[in-house]
């Protein structure tokens, strides 16, 4: 018996650092993945980035003619405008809607309805983006043509609405968590002072939960910026700086998805698509970074 215990003891002493190492690796794997992805994406585009691409033209020209025979132009301004316009429109719809729903679920509805709503909202989040795209392509398209009497329904408006519907579940569930985290004693204190429900919400809950609510909104933005399939199917995919919600637009993500398969591996076109990938990556990085700064700023002030 004693020897067995001894063996285990020995084994444990030998195993402990190994297990610790594995756990440490799990912990820092996120960093490795982020840098790894950045590195490999950048490596594919590097050849053109340093050899031939005019960065200023790339960022400021709306001319995207990567397959032109005698005058190839790689300007992504229209694509950036497409991504931003669709995202902005989506947020204009999704933020009030999502935060309103979060407030309703957290503060107003009874326990039974709450459970049902949460399940349905999670279900909404689980719908694959291609299905959303399909809805946009058929239902929304017809609806927009009918309602606004425009020739095509595959527009910035269509993409924005679909993206809004896709972002709302995230905003609702993260926003509801943020509101739930506000101690009930704050609500009780305000109510006992005579605050109405609405006053409790905008004078106590919203200021207290603002960090979490901001995080909810920015996660929604992140989803909208990165979404590919649904916007590819719903925005009309026309390279154009939009002047109204009824213009067709094309986003950065959709461009990569649509063209990568056709571009010859190693060609300038192929490489520029990877540079767009780096650009997307940078946009999301900046959004996240700014969020962190804002939240930290709020925290220090408070």
């Amino acid at each position: 018996m004693k020897t067995i215990a001894n063996v285990f003891h020995q084994l444990e002493r030998w195993l402990e650092p190994v297990i610790e190492g594995i756990i440490r690796l799990c912990g820092i794997s996120a960093i490795i993945f982020v840098f790894g992805i950045f590195f490999f994406v950048f490596r594919e585009g590097m050849g053109f980035f340093f050899g031939g691409l005019d960065i200023v033209e790339f960022l400021t020209s709306p001319d995207w003619y990567p397959t032109s025979l005698n005058n190839k132009r790689y300007g992504v301004l229209a694509l950036i405008a497409g991504t931003f316009s669709v995202t902005a429109l989506a947020m204009v719809i999704a933020v009030p809607f999502g935060l309103g729903a979060a407030i309703f679920v957290s503060e107003f509805c009874g326990p039974k309805l709450k459970e049902t709503l949460k399940i349905v909202i999670e279900l909404l989040a689980a719908i694959p983006s291609v299905v959303w795209g399909f809805i946009g392509l058929t239902v929304m398209n017809a609806l927009i043509i009918e309602l606004f009497t425009v020739p095509i329904g595959l527009t910035m408006l269509n993409g924005g609405i679909i993206l809004a519907l896709m972002s709302v579940p995230i905003i609702v569930s993260i926003g509801e968590d943020a509101l739930k985290a506000v101690p009930d004693s704050y609500r009780e204190a305000a109510e006992a002072l005579g605050a109405t429900r609405w006053q409790v919400i905008y004078r106590v809950l919203l200021p207290t939960a603002k960090n979490g609510l901001l995080a909810a909104v920015l996660l929604g933005v992140g989803r909208a910026v990165g979404e590919t399939m649904a916007v590819l199917m719903t925005t009309g995919h026309a390279v154009k700086i939009p002047t109204s919600p009824f213009d067709s637009v094309r986003t950065l993500t959709a461009t990569i998805a649509a063209e990568l398969g056709e571009a010859a591996v190693g060609s300038d076109h192929y490489r520029v698509l990877f540079i767009i990938g780096v650009l997307l990556f940078s946009i999301t990085f900046i959004v996240n970074f700014v969020t962190d700064l804002v939240i930290k700023g709020i925290r220090e002030k408070a």
């Binding site: 109510e191 002072l193 005579g194 408070a302």
Partner: protein, 258 residues
């Protein structure tokens, strides 16, 4: 006792249920205006429930049924035309755990005024005066006059609880309900809050729920002993502790159950 006593709270045949559980049974009491009335009794006897009836904060939990009348300042607060904000403006409440809002000391005190008159713009000098007066009334002004911008939730517990009392005062309440206001405070904090209560009595009708019988003796003018949802005895504090009429009261104050 003189016959022309004025009552700020009068209940008659008050019954209350949490779902199927009856927490208050035929409670009829009269709380004298301007005095401190203590509510004592073992855990679960309904004293906090009774207290929370008086500003209807019980109703936050959905499954509460209340039957009976509660007259506060001559009006039945369970009438359908009663405005809850107005009621709660007149009947302030101090909770067991100090619960200042996570905003500055200054904003905590002015919070009540802000929610009760949204539109009216106040001059800064005017609100400054209100804040100073409220803090002076609870003996916090000297401690906090340089910390008005500090977040209230970072203060010491004793200061937080006094602040919770101070923020009721700008609304000029008639009644202040206190639910074991000293249970999270140390001896020094307890003494300070008790002194404050004695100072406020007269200007306000104070109702205090307490587990601490010594505290009830120290601060209250009248005392109500409750057991299993019913009022057993309600009389002057000296009489309740020195010559209780009911053997149940005697058993409780002698510590035979609790």
């Amino acid at each position: 006792m003189s016959a022309d006593k004025r009552y700020s709270i009068e209940t008659s045949q008050l019954n209350l249920w949490y779902a199927d559980f009856q927490a208050l049974i035929n409670v009829s009491v009269k709380i004298v205006d301007g005095l401190i009335t203590g509510l004592i009794g073992p855990s679960g006897c309904g004293k906090t429930t009774l207290l929370r009836c008086f500003n209807r904060v019980n109703e936050r939990y959905g499954n509460v049924t209340t039957i009976g009348e509660v007259q506060i300042l001559g009006k039945n607060i369970y009438d359908s035309d009663v405005s809850l904000p107005e009621l709660r403006k007149n009947v302030g409440m101090v909770f067991q755990r100090p619960n200042p809002l996570p905003i500055s000391v200054y904003e905590n005190i002015i919070f009540g005024l802000r929610i009760h008159s949204e539109q009216r713009r106040r001059k800064k000098s005017q609100t400054d005066e209100i804040v100073e007066a409220a803090l002076r009334e609870v003996f916090l002004w000297d401690d906090l006059k340089d910390q008005l911008k500090v977040k209230a939730t970072t203060l010491q517990l004793e200061q937080q609880q006094k602040l919770c009392i101070a923020r009721l005062l700008p609304l000029k309440p008639r009644v202040i309900l206190m639910d074991e206001p000293c249970s999270t405070l140390d001896a020094k904090g307890t003494r300070a809050v008790e002194e404050l209560m004695l100072e406020l009595a007269g200007h306000y009708t104070i109702l205090i729920v307490t587990h601490n019988m010594a505290q009830a003796r120290r601060v209250s003018d009248e005392c109500i002993f409750m057991l299993l949802g019913e009022i057993v005895e309600h009389t002057r504090t000296e009489d309740l502790f020195l010559m209780p009429k009911s053997t149940k009261t005697a058993d409780y104050i002698e510590g035979r159950y609790g």
